[in-house]
């Protein structure tokens, strides 16, 4: 397994894709939060509390939570790129126990996803404090609160990268992975929530678990309450665990079905 993980890291670092990772992380973290801080939530449409208040800080940081699809797509390429370029043939020849290949990918991309999450949150912190300093306003949340929110975002990025690996393994095609993630996250789950009774399980659905991690401002919570009345979200740590469980489940399903298919 150590050899396979080493190979996966080399696979990752010997193409140009990984160089886009840090760039995407800074855009989704620092640039997004920095701009939101500079503009100020009080100037949003509709107007919201400014970063002078804790609610304002939560609002600007929560924008980053909307970008989880980026690390998920990055994780999906771990598998889809192998099918696209047919390297999967050599990969399965060198490791005919295919489940070990997926396990190594999941492990490697958990680490890579955490690194991505760290760049996102470090740059988001820089965007928040830097933007506030530039505007001459104080940050309305203590370092402890900011650190907790950033940690939740980093965890979300990590588990979404793993989830991406699982979805990539299930679908084997990057466009299909993008479509499935996008449709599910932005449409299917909202529709599901309208079905009576479904809101009881909503906290355990991927979207609900994500919300437990990243919906930490009043606006998104209010929005969630409108569409998902009376659903109480899980604590953040449980939310992260539920998402990680989805990633492992998707990967396990992939081992059971698509990974056993013929490679022709």
């Amino acid at each position: 397994m150590r050899r396979l993980v080493k190979a996966e890291f080399r696979r990752l670092f010997t193409t140009a894709l990984w160089r886009w990772g840090p760039l995407a992380a800074v855009v989704c973290g620092g640039v997004l939060v920095g701009l939101a801080t500079l503009v100020g939530p009080e100037n949003f449409e509709p107007s919201m509390p400014g970063v002078r208040t804790e609610e304002g800080v939560r609002t600007v940081l929560s924008l980053t939570g909307l970008t989880v699809i980026v690390p998920a797509l990055f994780g999906a390429t771990a598998v889809t790129s192998e099918y696209r370029h047919k390297t999967i043939t050599f990969t399965f020849l060198f490791a005919p126990r295919r489940q070990t290949v997926l396990a190594a990918k999941l492990l490697t991309y958990a680490v890579a996803g955490a690194a991505y999450g760290l760049v996102v949150t470090a740059s988001a912190a820089a965007g928040l404090y830097g933007g506030a300093a530039l505007r001459g306003v104080s940050v309305g949340a203590g370092p402890g609160t900011v650190a907790e929110l950033l940690l939740r975002l980093a965890a979300a990025m990590t588990v979404y990268t793993m989830l991406g690996v699982g979805i990539g393994a299930l679908l084997r095609n990057q466009t299909a992975a993008l479509a499935a993630l996008g449709l599910y996250l932005y449409m299917v789950e909202h529709a599901l929530a309208l079905i009576p009774g479904v809101n009881l399980i909503y906290p355990y659905l991927p979207g609900g678990a994500t919300a437990a991690l990243t919906n930490f401002n009043l606006i998104s919570q209010a929005a969630a309450e409108i569409s998902v009345s009376s659903a109480r979200l899980l604590p953040p740590v449980l939310g992260a665990l539920v998402l990680a469980a989805y990633a492992v489940t998707a990967t396990a399903l992939a081992i059971g079905v698509p990974m056993r298919r013929d490679v022709t």
Partner: protein
């Protein structure tokens, strides 16, 4: 050499829906010689080789290397070196890094990477991205990947495809050298003029069934070319 390097196919069958790609195929491939696996397009060569390597599931029958299925080998890539696609590389990765990735999977040293780069005559382009490689360069990288584990068995699907005469001559010398070292060498081809100069033993299949197996001389001994013998066997017009 020992029977541990023998390739054995017994009653191998694979259907794709209504298509019987391979039907009740049985043959044995011995070490120390180059065995040509010949047949027209769609005869079932690729399907057979992929079943041998655990990439395609047989409908029935078995294919073993030294008595074990590929997936059950203790060190599969150190036992069998295989090439199945003309190009299965990430275009942005250099040849050397491609070799390193697969070398990592089986614990090859950097020295082994250098060795296969030299063995396949790739020092000049090993550090360039595969994107710009010619067919010949890709075939060499394919073979280099197969050779990483210094395997006693080579299974190559159409390694001569797209090579110029010089490339074919080089490939012939390479396969000959591999067989002379005692390795088992199984190469498929549908280009007979090319196979004729490359192989010692032939297996001819047509529509998924074995038509003939034996030494090349047995087919061409009557003075006919392999192509004539082949057309006779496969029922084409001579």
């Amino acid at each position: 050499m020992t029977m541990s390097n023998q390739v054995m196919v017994r009653g191998l069958t694979r259907h794709f829906g209504q298509v019987a790609a391979v039907t009740d195929l049985s043959f044995t491939v011995e070490p120390g010689v180059v065995t040509g696996f010949l047949g027209p397009n769609g005869a079932g060569k690729t399907t057979t080789l992929r079943m041998l390597l655990g990439l395609v599931r047989p409908t029935s029958g078995t294919a073993t290397i030294g008595g074990r299925r590929y997936a059950d080998l203790t060190h599969p890539a150190r036992t069998v070196g295989a090439v199945l696609d003309a190009s299965s590389f990430h275009p942005g990765r250099s040849a050397r890094n491609h070799l390193r990735v697969y070398g990592d999977m089986i614990g090859c040293s950097e020295r082994r990477i250098d060795e296969v780069v030299d063995l396949l005559g790739m020092p000049e382009f090993a550090d360039r991205p595969v994107r710009g490689f010619s067919t010949g360069m890709r075939q060499r990288l394919n073979l280099a990947t197969a050779m990483l584990g210094d395997p006693p068995v080579l299974v190559l699907d159409e390694p001569g495809n797209g090579l110029d005469p010089e490339g074919i001559a080089w490939l012939r010398r390479f396969l000959r050298a591999m067989a002379d070292e005692g390795r088992t060498v199984l190469v498929s081809s549908h280009v007979l003029s090319e196979a004729e100069q490359m192989v010692d033993q032939v297996l001819v299949i047509r529509r998924g069934r074995l038509m003939s197996a034996g030494p090349l001389a047995g087919l061409t001994g009557d003075g006919s070319t392999l192509e004539q013998a082949f057309l006779r066997l496969t029922g084409g017009a001579a």
